[in-house]
């Protein structure tokens, strides 16, 4: 029981972390609340299904292909629909909701509303102190860890990372320092969507793939980024782990928990917000006037 909670909590937390960090990045740099973020995660999961099951490609090739294709779709969406109306924040929001709807409907048209399963990359399991851990779960944990580390390194050690952080801090000044702000925003969108795609790829074999699979994670990552503090990567990580574990605990320990998992996580988010209105690691924004 405890081991199951630990493993599932880590996996949920990890996948949420991948999604939430990407969401946080794009919010920080371009000030976009990108509702379509988890739609890219769904698209990645479907692409694997299409390549591996429909076209019969090797699962590894399917995975690499979808991780390569989804960011291109993401950048295209950014270029065509978000960038032209960037000054109208609320309108951008509606457009991203509509984009998510469009993706959902396209997947519904192409693959139908059935729940689809995906083959695991590895079968078999490992026994650690009497607990069976499947290789797929282990792989998920390792990949999540590596991707998060890579993002961390990218943001802290590279010139691109410095540009991204500078743009997030102050768009105008970053622009004055000679950074191509809109290009930075586009690259950030690419990175964020890649992370969402990796999350989708990891989840696809562990759960079912269906056109509405983007809604629950969307609500969760919104709660996570608010809990951790908007735009804060550290906060998103902490929030993802907290809510990942809370969700797992509720499902395992409370009868009818599956209905309540969303409610519980969101209540925790609200409680934190009431005590600290800027989230766990957020900085209180200067009132933008």
């Amino acid at each position: 029981m405890i081991e199951n909670i630990l493993i599932n909590g880590l996996i949920h937390g990890g996948v949420y972390a991948l999604l939430a960090v990407g969401f946080s990045l794009i919010f920080g740099v371009a000030r976009i609340v990108n509702i379509a973020h988890t739609a890219f995660y769904m698209v990645a999961a479907y692409l694997i299904y299409a390549f591996a099951t429909r076209l019969g490609l090797h699962p590894l090739i399917a995975i690499l292909l979808s991780i390569a294709i989804v960011p291109l779709i993401g950048i295209l969406v950014y270029r065509l629909t978000i960038e032209p109306i960037q000054e109208h924040h609320v309108t951008v929001l509606i457009v991203t909701i509509a984009v998510a709807m469009v993706f959902q409907e396209i997947m519904l048209l192409l693959f139908g509303g059935h729940f689809r399963g995906n083959p695991s990359l590895f079968t078999g399991y490992l026994v650690i102190r009497g607990v069976r851990v499947s290789y797929q779960h282990l792989l998920t944990l390792v990949v999540v860890f590596l991707v998060l580390m890579a993002t961390w390194w990218l943001l802290l050690k590279t010139r691109l990372g410095i540009a991204i952080r500078a743009t997030a801090q102050d768009r105008e000044v970053a622009n004055l320092m000679g950074m191509n702000v809109s290009q930075v925003a586009m690259i950030t969108m690419g990175i964020a969507v890649t992370m969402a795609a990796i999350a989708g790829v990891l989840v696809a074999p562990l759960s079912v793939v269906e056109p509405y699979m983007w809604l629950h994670p969307l609500v969760m990552i919104l709660a996570i980024v608010v809990l951790g503090g908007l735009g804060s990567i550290k906060g998103s990580l902490a929030g993802a782990l907290i809510l990942g574990f809370v969700e797992t605990l509720v499902v395992f320990l409370i009868p009818l928990g599956a209905f309540l998992k969303g409610a519980f996580s969101l209540t925790i988010m609200l409680v934190v917000l009431l005590i600290r209105p800027e989230g766990l690691f957020g900085v209180a924004f200067e009132e933008e006037r």
């Binding site: 109306i85 509509a98 409907e105 809604l215 919104l222 409610a263 917000l273 209105p277």
Partner: protein, 352 residues
């Protein structure tokens, strides 16, 4: 008295007040068409579409009153709708109260919900507020699923009395309520309170510095908006005669935002126009059931790319322009202002 009501007087009033601006003419024709529709057709399906549009128009306009005017982004507007729907349904079913009592009581319950949400959330700003409000309907939905004895769980509460005895009576109740409440919200938006709402959106700090208790006004906005949204929730539940968890769904909250922004925010008539265009469009697209939502999404994206401030704002700017001197609105074809006779083309030097 006779002179006041004389035909000539009315015609003059009509010419001077309504025909003078295209937007007023359109609004007048819209009201007239809605009120006369049952005289032309008694098709229950068509009436049903207009009834739903009216109910959702109240809902979308109430979102505008809160989020458009004061800028307090509410992502969980379905909370008000759902609370009122469930309250009216349970009051009607358990206590046997008639609809004219349950709907206002449901709306009052939504106001209480609005205050419960508003009081803690007013410490939050911008996106934090938006994302925190998203949580409330979902939390309530979780609670509803865990106490199926009272709420009916996934199936909802059914067996509620209808709104009125016939379809046409229901039609008139909904349409007249929509027009009346729409006018009321528009008047609120134009009143002194409404101006303070505007100011809070533009610059809250400056409003506070002018000695206005902004928290009180934001709470007022939450309660007013909750009341109107609650009325629409009660109407909805008495019309479809079931109160289910779908009244609390995230998609309903998003739908309200899509309608409002598509139509144009901070106008009240914008969201109403948005609903009356998008809802019938969705119904019309039932002839293509597979790609209905796809077309809906693409329509919203493409229109907003061309008119990022919404349809009515875009159309109004095309048809009318503002007098450079007295700021009164004029038809785009006029050369002089209809109020102060200033030259419409002349550019007034703005403070240097």
């Amino acid at each position: 008295m006779a002179g006041f009501l004389s035909l000539r007087r009315i015609r003059l009033l009509f010419q001077k007040e309504i025909l003078i601006l295209p937007s007023r003419t359109i609004a007048f024709l819209f009201c007239l068409a809605l009120l006369c529709l049952p005289l032309v057709t008694k098709d229950p399906y068509l009436l049903r579409i207009v009834i739903f549009s009216s109910i959702f128009a109240i809902f979308a306009a109430s979102w505008d009153l809160l989020s458009g005017f004061t800028g307090q982004m509410n992502f969980g507007h379905a909370l008000f709708f759902g609370v009122a729907a469930y309250t009216s349904a349970i009051l009607n079913l358990r206590l046997g109260l008639p609809p004219w009592a349950t709907i206002p009581l449901g709306a009052l319950m939504a106001v209480i919900a609005g205050l419960l949400v508003g009081v803690p959330c007013l410490r939050l700003r911008g996106p934090y507020l938006a994302l925190a409000t998203l949580a409330f309907p979902i939390i309530l939905m979780g609670i509803i699923f865990t106490i199926p004895e009272i709420t009916g769980g996934e199936l909802g509460v059914s067996g509620i009395k209808p709104l009125a005895s016939s379809r046409i009576a229901t039609y008139y109740v909904c349409v007249i309520l929509m027009l009346g409440l729409g006018l009321l919200m528009w008047k609120i938006g134009d009143s002194k309170t409404g101006i303070i709402f505007h100011a809070i959106r533009e610059d809250e700090l400056a409003v506070r510095a002018s000695g206005i208790n902004t928290t009180r006004y934001k709470l007022l906005a939450f309660s007013l908006s909750g009341f109107f949204a609650g009325l629409s929730g009660g109407l909805y539940t008495h019309f479809i005669r079931i109160a289910g968890p779908s009244t609390l769904e995230v998609s309903l909250s998003f739908q309200a935002i899509i309608w409002a922004i598509f139509g144009g925010v901070v106008t009240i008539y914008g969201p109403i126009a948005g609903v009356f265009i998008l809802y019938p469009l969705m119904e019309f697209l039932r002839i293509l059931p597979e790609i209905r939502t796809l077309i809906f999404g693409l329509t919203v994206i493409i229109l907003l790319l061309f008119m990022p401030e919404g349809l009515t704002t875009w159309a109004r700017d095309k048809m009318e322009k503002e007098c450079p001197r007295c700021k009164a609105r004029n038809g785009a074809w006029r050369n002089t202002c209809r109020v102060c006779f200033a030259d419409m083309e002349r550019q007034v030097a703005s403070g240097s």
